[in-house]
């Protein structure tokens, strides 16, 4: 499929492992650019038979802003290298990188951060809470596999190469839409099960008995209405009011203490 197969399967496997350096010099200007370039270096070196000129060019391109999902970045790297091998036009290669890292991030985050983590966390925590070492072991095992998959993605990306490109570019929109759907659905579930707000106050409605605001009011209106409201309130402050997360965390913190003091929560 390729004119000059400079890279061996072993090189691609290595690439998959190196891809773990993606965030080695993470920063807000270029995000993962540094680590991304780092991981590509050995392969680039081999492709260009050490031709400093070409390597420099490739490195410069790779040093541009990129932010994608560490578990899947190998796929992108493999894909790009297969293009480098066919020495496709630099701007094409760059274009593809820019086109794909975003969707890949969306997919990766939806699957690994918002879905896999809470699930594995939930299951293994339920063991740990019984004082069983199975919990952490299970957790570790799962993520060992996930890590191993990086090599698979990388080979996949490399082998698909130019062929799959068209299809990828067409589908990337609807794929990341699907990923977002998964992500948002799970987040809806997370809000209901990971935020805990329990109002303690009660109101005396008449002589004999009094109603608990939580049980008789909020829960009657809607269970978890408070967690959802709070999450949406945060969303509002972040989006509309541009308030920084740090401030919201601090605020939440102080509010919690204050309400504890007042005996509301």
């Amino acid at each position: 499929m390729k004119e000059s197969n400079a890279l061996s399967a072993k090189d691609i496997t290595k690439l998959g492992l190196y891809s773990s350096f993606l965030q080695a010099s993470f920063n807000y200007e270029r995000m993962q650019a540094g680590g991304f370039t780092l991981a590509m270096l050995p392969a680039l070196h081999k492709i260009f038979h050490g031709d400093k000129q070409k390597i420099a060019e490739a490195m410069k391109d790779n040093m541009e802003f990129i932010n994608t999902h560490p578990n899947l970045v190998g796929f992108l790297m493999g894909l790009l290298l297969s293009l480098e091998e066919n020495n496709e036009d630099r701007s094409l290669i760059k274009g593809i990188k820019v086109a794909l890292f975003g969707p890949l991030a969306g997919i990766g985050d939806a699957i690994f951060w918002f879905t896999l983590l809470p699930i594995v966390a939930g299951i293994s925590a339920s063991f740990a809470l019984q004082g069983s070492i199975i919990g952490p072991i299970l957790f570790f095992a799962v993520y060992l596999v996930v890590f191993g998959l990086r090599i698979v993605w990388t080979h996949l990306g490399y082998n698909l190469g130019t062929k799959a490109l068209e299809r990828l570019k067409d589908n990337s929109r609807i794929i990341s839409k699907a990923a977002t759907i998964l992500g948002v659905t799970v987040i809806g579930g997370l809000v209901a099960s990971y935020i805990h707000i329990e109002v303690l106050s009660t109101i005396a409605i008449n002589a004999e008995h009094s109603v608990s605001i939580q049980k008789d009011f909020f829960n009657k209106i809607f269970p978890n209405i408070l967690p959802m409201s709070y999450a949406l309130f945060m969303l509002y402050l972040l989006k509309k009011k541009q308030i920084s997360p740090s401030i919201l965390i601090l605020g939440t913190f102080l509010a919690a203490i204050a309400l504890s003091f007042l005996g509301v929560l």
Binding site: F21, S25, F26, N27, L117, P118, I119, G189, Y194
Partner: protein, 262 residues
């Protein structure tokens, strides 16, 4: 009421360096509380406390992800300190989580600081790139990672070994409402994290999915989120195939149209 020996303090620091690197690279997920707490427990010779603390902290932090390059309260410090505080002061892990939060925040801000300041290295990186100076380029990446790793070691050593007595006194002097307040904060905090996620993901058209996930988790009893994930998968796949079919049919029509054009 236990003591942390110097040895243990150093061991904790070493662990912090290792999981710190893992945290930075998001590699093997050793930086998650369930792992960190367990190891801490082992180091302190009280694995059971480690496991309980791990379970609780993991659940509390599972929603706080760095997706999108954001930086949540730090899971490593949360894990270490929850275990350490429960161990040294003998209070419940649920309470310890709350008291560990300030440390978690501290580390969060340190990381944020690095996120910004490491930008200055980029200029250097560019020049190395132009010169194709591979070795210098590698060193640079090692340097940044090393800085983070070391920081973890130091912060953890101080927060655990050095600060332990101060910690104990502090906790004893704390009124219950304050401690309870910390607990509560731990329960509400994920809300901020979800708010951040939603800011990234929640376009109007995705609200239905938020509602469905929320309703499902609110009314159907399950022991983990897998069912919700399955619902999400079903919906995602449905939408994917619909869109795909539509793309196909439209290009078909489009094609038809252009042919007619000829």
């Amino acid at each position: 009421m236990h003591e942390i020996t110097l040895i243990q303090g150093l061991e904790l620091a070493v662990m912090a360096i290792i999981v710190g690197i893992d945290f930075w690279l998001e590699g093997l997920f050793l930086f998650r509380p369930i792992i960190v707490c367990t190891v801490t427990g082992i180091i302190l010779g009280d694995i059971n406390t480690g496991l309980i603390a791990g379970g609780l902290t993991e659940l509390a932090f599972a929603g706080l992800t760095p997706a999108g390059g954001t930086q949540p309260p730090n899971p490593i410090l949360a894990g270490v300190m929850t275990t350490v505080i429960a161990f040294t002061t003998g209070i419940e892990a649920t309470t310890a989580i709350g008291l560990a939060l300030p440390f978690s925040f501290l580390m969060q801000y340190i990381i944020l600081f690095y996120y910004s300041s490491f930008s200055f290295f980029m200029a250097k990186a560019d020049t190395y790139a132009e010169e194709a100076n591979v070795n210098a380029f590698i060193r640079l990446n090692i340097l940044t990672t090393a800085i983070v790793a070391l920081t973890y070691g130091i912060v953890v050593f101080f927060s655990t070994y050095v600060a332990q007595n101060a910690m104990q006194e502090l906790v004893q002097s704390m009124p219950t409402w304050l401690i309870h307040g910390f607990e509560i904060a731990g329960g509400i905090l994920p809300g901020v994290g979800f708010g951040m996620l939603l800011k990234v993901m929640l376009k109007m058209q995705y609200i239905p999915y938020l509602i469905i996930g929320f309703l499902f988790a609110s009314f159907i009893p399950f022991s983990n989120l897998l069912p919700v994930a399955l619902v999400g998968t079903a919906l995602a796949m449905y939408e994917y195939f619909r869109d795909k079919a539509q793309m196909a049919s439209q290009t078909a029509i489009g094609g038809g149209g252009s042919n007619e054009g000829i």
